[in-house]
Amino acid sequence: MQRLLLLGLNHTTAPLEVRERLAFSPAQQRRAIELLKQQYPQAEAVLISTCNRVELYIAREVHAQPRVQQMIEFLSQFHAVPVDQFRRHLYERAEREAVEHLFGVAASLDSMVLGESQILGQVRQAYDLSRRLGAAGPVLNPLFQRALAVGKQVMNSTPLGEGRVSVSGVAVEYARQIFDHFQDKTVLCVGAGKMSKLALRGFAALKPGRLLVANRDEHKARRLAAQFAAVAVPLTQLDTHLVEADIVISSTGAVEPVITRRHFQGLLRRRRYRPIFIIDLAVPRDVEPAVAELEHVYLYNLDDLQRAVARTHSQRSQVLEQARAIVQQHVQQYLVWQRQRELGPAIDQLYRRCHAIAADEVARALNRIEGLDQPQRAQAEQLMGELARRIVNKILHDPVATLRQADQLHAPAGQYLHALQQLFHLEPAALTALESTQQAGENSADEPRGPQAPEPDQQHDRAG
């Protein structure tokens, strides 16, 4: 039996200071999955790391490793952050709750900015990485594929994604609260990633006097600058550009702050104390928080902007309900499918065993009947065989139907499986069959088939 675990922290449980210390860069994410695979070769793992969350999904055998404590220690050791500094910000989920959580995340219901579509891409990237590295298997493959489908359906079939207020939109609104006009203003973008591009798009619409793009990789800077009629400038001359800039958008992948208080304080005089709006979209942050204490500096980080965005969603409860209903429907379908997949081989074996007993008894009874010619014997064999099959099917129908209904089970499927095995003396091959099904699933596309998925034992139902 497999067990699904989730360990994570997000914008609701952990402040940015904690999140940025536990965030994984793409390279770190890859290394973390490789390490997990190395340490726990039997376990499956997917690691989602975004600005707002770090979540580790693990699927493993019931009594296998890693356990939650080991997952926590893994995070701690990887980032060299003592456990007590982040333990209270973590949440743990298992089984149904973990599925619900993941589907909610993919549908952007757990995002600070409800309806933002970036999270779907981030979940896909995390899953793809694990799949490429062989860390996603028969449990996480169908789970994440279903999660992506849920996310897409929510975005396409509900108005959640429509008219959403973006982080860059809010940043522009804040800029309007500081500056009256932008024709004489200089916007400096430090970093040339996706976030920079989104923010730059918002500010370019204000038609500022100058748009500058500074990036370590000058080629990327030039490419981004070309899209917005901006000027690519060398990052080495950051001080000069900070003196000129009125609005700074920073979103680099730097681990250490790019702008510190001490550094910026020295520039205030050269700036002639002009107000400056600094938007720090990076996690870990590019701008030291103490910079905000300086006069004429308005520093906003990702959390500040997302909080403002979140306030705009209060009136969208109806849409939320609609999205949640879709998520719940998929959770239910997935769990039923998963349960059927887990119990299917055992049920199949149960039917086979009972039918075999019935067939044996029919054969024995037929042998006792004398005086039947060949056609009569054949007719009797057919009639008695059918009778025995019907009786077996009718007896097993109710318990099997109950087993298939996930809601009617009050304990993990494993317990029912174990009970079946013990009560009917089923061979452990039932479990092996389950494993082999999972192995087969690994090789196939492994897309959950939903509650209508044909099961190996359906033939018995039809016969009944």
Partner: protein, 270 residues
């Protein structure tokens, strides 16, 4: 001495401005078109009523020259400020400007009603220079009132931006840049008018050998110095922003002191 009818009309004008202000504040809870229209109508009617009082009072005095007594001067000051607010809000609105300037207008009208009910002293307008002194002094006061209001708005907007709640519920005041610009423009105008007022007043005082209350001179000098500091901000930019806003508020408070000094301690002949 204003008639009872004129005083009543002043109270009507005050009531209209108060009602307009309440409706305007009500819009904070829920914005509706009729509220905006009603608030604007109250403001216009308030101005119109004040203008009727001015005309009636001029007819009563038998002179069309404004600012001949403090009752008349305070109403003029209130009207100028109210018209300024309505002009700005029509041309390029600054959110919440009326909430900050209109209380000053109401306060000035109450002042005029009180002086009208008690014993308003007539200004001794002998020469054109004494009238210029009065007009520029009151004009300066109006400009400083706007500067003070813009300064207060700047401080609130700045505080909200620093607390990162500028987009949360509550009034959206104008941008910091615009408020700072409004403060500086008002202070520049007010400073010029105050300087002219101070020079002409001083010249008149010497020419007529009059004794002017010391408090008035000291407060005027203090106001002049404070606004000189605010105007100094383009040269020394460390004075811009919050400091300039705080100084403009302080200057306006002192300016109110000058007005009260004038009202309570009239100039006596030497």
């Amino acid at each position: 001495m204003p008639s009872a009818g004129q005083i009543t009309l002043v109270f009507v004008s005050i009531a209209l401005f108060v009602v307009g202000g309440v409706i305007s504040l009500w819009r904070l809870r829920r914005e509706r078109a009729w509220q905006r229209a009603a608030a604007r109508l109250c403001m216009w009617l308030g101005v119109l009523t004040s203008l009727i009082v001015l005309v009636w009072h001029a007819l009563g005095r038998g002179s069309w020259l404004p600012l001949e007594d403090n009752f008349d001067a305070l109403i003029w000051l209130a009207v100028v400020l109210a018209v300024f607010v309505m002009y700005v809000q029509r041309r390029r609105p600054i959110g919440g400007l009326d909430w900050f300037v209109m209380p000053i207008v109401i306060l000035l009208l109450i002042g005029s009603a009180v002086t009208g009910l008690t014993d308003p002293h007539a200004y001794d307008v002998k020469t054109i220079w004494s009238w210029v002194h009065r007009a520029t002094a009151y004009g300066g006061a109006a400009a400083f009132a706007v500067a003070g209001a813009a300064g207060a708005m700047y401080l609130i907007a700045n505080h909200r931006l620093r607390r990162k709640v500028a987009l949360a519920s509550g009034p959206r005041l104008g941008s910091l840049e615009r408020l700072e610009q409004l403060t500086l423009t008002s202070v520049t105008l007010g400073f010029a008018l105050l300087t002219i007022g101070a020079i002409t007043g001083f010249a008149e005082m010497i020419r007529e050998d009059r004794a002017t209350p010391t408090a008035k001179i000291v407060l005027t000098a203090a106001v002049w110095l404070i606004y000189a500091l605010v105007l100094h901000s383009p040269i020394n930019p460390s004075f811009r922003g919050r400091r300039a806003a705080m100084l403009s508020i302080l200057g306006f408070v002192l300016m109110l002191g000058v007005i009260f000094a004038v009202l309570l301690m009239p100039t006596t002949g030497g």
